[in-house]
């Protein structure tokens, strides 16, 4: 982490940051199929996808024609910025297309000698989202929404209240209302709470009604996540 320098001689400073990004995991290398699905997905929530930075994961579609894919995404007003776990064969081409390389086992993008490649992708670095933190109780009838990030609530969420986030939802107090995480189809989002008394839980469209929440988890500290297309509630901390 570079600390901010007050030296007027310097034209810029470097800051480490961690920013939530959408990852496009390809399961097919057929550009036509990709485009069809893209048109419907983007069509449903166009404002969310408008120039959204996108990381590409080609693990399920190693043979994809990268240049065509990037052009396709840009045509749909998406901003591909990096390639995650790129196959060796595609690395040169990715760099020439202005994409950064995100390599496994390395928190930052690329190795130091490739660092200069990162600079043409500023969206990743500048649009840091810290989410929303709420310290007051969320009362019945109130809705708190954290766009693009996590929602952290440090007071009870009452029955009849709704806490919503594009990222994770954390409630460090009793959760008695409705909690919705990953509302823009982010299945990797989770809900955390220190006492589960919720009326409704949802992640990326999968949901559990109050009656479907396992009785053994009531009043417990839990995390809720999506596994195999359904919501799973797990105890948090030492059992």
């Amino acid at each position: 982490m570079a600390s901010p320098e007050r030296d007027p001689q310097k034209a810029f400073t470097l800051k480490g940051t961690s920013t939530p990004l959408t990852v496009l995991c390809l399961r097919s290398s057929d550009l036509e199929r990709i485009e069809r699905q893209l048109a419907t997905t983007v069509g449903q929530t166009p404002s969310f996808f408008q120039h959204a930075p996108l990381v590409l994961d080609l693990e399920g579609a190693a043979g994809v024609e990268l240049q065509g894919l990037v052009a396709l995404l840009r045509r749909h007003k998406l901003a591909p910025v990096a390639l995650r776990n790129p196959p060796k064969a595609l690395r040169e081409q990715a760099i020439s297309l202005g994409l950064a390389l995100l390599l496994p086992g390395n928190g930052r993008a690329g190795k130091p000698r490739e660092a200069k490649v990162e600079t043409p992708s500023p969206p990743v670095v500048t649009s840091a989202t810290f989410g929303v933190t709420v310290t007051q109780p969320v009362r019945s009838g109130q809705v708190v929404y954290a766009p693009q990030g996590d929602l952290v609530v440090l007071a009870p969420v009452s029955s009849g209240a709704e806490v919503v986030a594009d990222g994770n939802v954390h409630v460090y107090a009793p959760l008695r209302g409705r909690a919705l995480a990953g509302v823009h189809d982010r299945t990797e989002a989770r809900i955390f709470c220190s006492s589960l008394e919720a009326e409704f839980l949802s992640i990326a469209g999968h949901y559990l009604m109050a009656d479907e929440i396992p009785e053994a988890m009531r009043g417990k500290a839990v995390l809720v996540c999506v596994e195999e297309d359904r919501l799973v509630v797990r105890r948090l901390g030492p059992l």
Binding site: Q136, P137, V138, R139, S140, G141, Q142, A155, P156, S158, S159, G160, A161, R176
Partner: protein, 275 residues
Amino acid sequence: MSKVIVVTSGKGGVGKTTTSANVATGLALLGYRTVAIDFDVGLRNLDLVMGCERRVVYDFVNVIKKEASLRQAVIRDKRVENLFILPASQTRDKDALDVEGVGRVIEDFRAAQFDYIICDSPAGIERGALMAMYFADEAIVVTNPEVSSVRDSDRVLGLLDAKTRKVETGERVKTHLLLTRYAPGRVAKGEMLGYADVLELLGIPLLGVIPESKAVLQASNLGTPVILDPTADAAQAYLDVVARFVGEERPQRFLDVPKRGFFSRLFGEPTAYAG
């Protein structure tokens, strides 16, 4: 410096008007210059509960519309010195209330050196209720020990944190919980929520518990706030509430089932709770 207090609940029939009448009377008994304003335009009740319904000439809406002066509309209580009532209009509706008009009336009461201005809110969360809470410095949230009342109170607490002038200036309305129609015997049988449950759900300090009491209903019908009948348990409870409100420390009473003495065990249900 005058204090504006809203008595509110969301749900109807939980005891807002009874509480407004008794708290206003109690504050006046302690020597504070107090006025109770009925915000329930169209469903005027406070004048009945305080026994001045036959002396209503002009009302709150007349003052807002500048058809009457405050001096003409305000009714002086005949029993308690320092106690005044501004009745609601029975013939208008809540649309007659607007921020400028209500604000002007509150400012006039402040200028007239009132210590406490009690705003008796109508039920619901619409215009009347929002107008009653808008200028409040503190709120007494009246709640019955049952789930629907608790949820409505919770909703109102959210509005108090969002739709008041205090919030617009970066402050907060101080909130107090008043649990009314509390019957410890029914709590023990599981027919009612206990005070601890309500406190946990709402998370605001407990101003007091008013026991379920026939005396309250009788007093309302007679137009004499129950606090003026010190033999009634509800009167004791309201006297405690008023004392706590002005900063005195008093232990909570009426929380538990009273111990039954030898005679009441012989002759059935107790008629009064042990103090």
